[in-house]
Amino acid sequence: MLRVIVQVIQRDLLLAVRQKADVLNTLFFFVVVVTMVPLGIGPEPNQLRAIAPGVVWVAALLAAILSLARLFANDYVDGTLEQMLLSSEPLPLIVLGKAAAHWLVTGLPLTIMSIVFGVVFDLGVTETGVMVASLLLGTPVLSLIGAVGAALTLGLRGGGVLTSLLVLPLYIPVLIFGSGAVGAAASGVSYAAYLLLLGAFLLFAAVLTPWAVSLALRISVE
């Protein structure tokens, strides 16, 4: 069972390594969006420190959305996806592997990059640590929920914008508790509850979304 997941992850990672531009573009987008905010708001340090968690999280959401198109589209075009649907291995497991690979090439780099933003926005060590932890727990949820949207809009015209429209409202709880954790750490309140809730979302999404994605894929490819 684990073997299927590992193989799918290996394959997708190999594909990502061969097309480095895709991965780097998402990361670059994340950096550029976060950089735009001080330019738009002004360089006042206290203000920037206050909005930093929200800015980083919203940018992470947008970057995740943008990278969703890549999740199934290439496999759909070259026919690999049909082979996956026909495979005797359980489809939810394959989907789980694909979502994990997607997180490894988008969510994880963003999380690492956010350390730099912790420094740039002059957050403390604890706040930066909490931000990294919240992103570590939250970005896999973005990949999992996003996979539902990507599967539903597979092969549709204007799929990219449509995916954002479908998926962004569903991202709201992750956004609230992700940036809330950093906000709580900044104001000296306990942030454990936020991280626990993010962990709960992750488990919940990991159990349920692969089934929804599988169903959506079968509908879209049918």
Partner: protein, 255 residues
């Protein structure tokens, strides 16, 4: 269904065929429309002439008779839509999916109406058209969910695929709504921004409550009539090549 009898038997699935449902819906629309108008007139009469002026908010509170029923319907209709979508997905009944598609615009309308009247009510009472209150924010997100459902179905040309994809989205949405609602509520209590609260329930005069309940019933009847009307249009659009539609057309009975 274990046995398929040769003679048409009115059972659970009898009206699940568009052909049998179409005339039934046609007969029910005038009934529910009349009920909507009648109850609406009674409700509005109570709202404007019977219900007393509110002690703290004056006359501006009277928009509650539109606002609260619209908000109730907006939430209720999403659940009903998800229910029919799920039935359509599980039993593969075309009519159930058509019902879900027909409910979505009415639900979105109710959500928009609740937001709009809420803004008009908020201006005189709170001094702002919009505050980031938990209820307002959740209602706005509900509008996004409706619009997402409508947009997804509009983007798919094949009606059967649109039905199923919409059903998956509606079900994912229905699982998410409680999570979104509670997270927005928690978010709101932690950001102590909005100093106003609409959760403090004022002791309501009995006539006000009656007016509101009657208006809610009127909205309910209107929704049923509007949805049935829309589902009839969808049936005609999708089944236009079916023999029975052609017969109705030939007889001039398709208005």
């Amino acid at each position: 269904m274990n046995t398929v009898s040769a003679s048409p038997r009115v059972g659970l699935f009898w009206f699940s065929s568009p052909q049998t449902f179409f005339p039934l819906a046609g007969r029910m629309i005038p009934l529910f429309a009349a009920l909507a108008i009648g109850l609406g007139l009674v409700g509005l009469y109570i709202a404007f002439f019977v219900a007393p002026t509110d002690a703290t908010q004056g006359e501006s509170y009277r928009i509650i008779f539109i606002h609260v029923p619209a908000a109730w319907m907006s939430m209720f209709l999403y659940v009903v839509m998800a229910f029919w979508a799920a039935v359509g997905l599980v039993f593969n009944t075309r009519l159930s999916s058509m019902m879900a598609t027909a409910i979505a615009p009415t639900g979105a309308l109710m959500t928009f109406l609740a937001l709009w009247t809420g803004a008009l009510w908020g201006r005189p009472t709170w001094g702002a058209y919009w505050v980031w209150d938990a209820r307002l924010t959740s209602e706005l997100i509900l509008l996004f969910l409706y619009l997402g459902f409508i947009a997804l179905q509009a983007a798919i040309d094949d009606p059967r695929r649109a039905d199923k994809a919409g059903a998956v989205l509606a079900l994912v949405g229905v699982v998410n709504i409680p999570i979104i609602y509670f997270s927005v509520q928690w978010w709101n209590t932690l950001h102590q921004g909005a100093s106003v609260s609409i959760t403090r329930a004022p002791s309501m005069a009995t006539t006000m409550l009656w007016g509101m309940l009657i208006m809610a019933l009127a909205f309910w009847m209107y929704s049923i009539a509007a949805v049935l009307h829309r589902v009839r249009s969808i049936i005609v659009a999708r089944e236009r090549r079916a023999e029975w539609i052609r017969e109705l057309l030939a007889e001039g009975r398709l208005k």
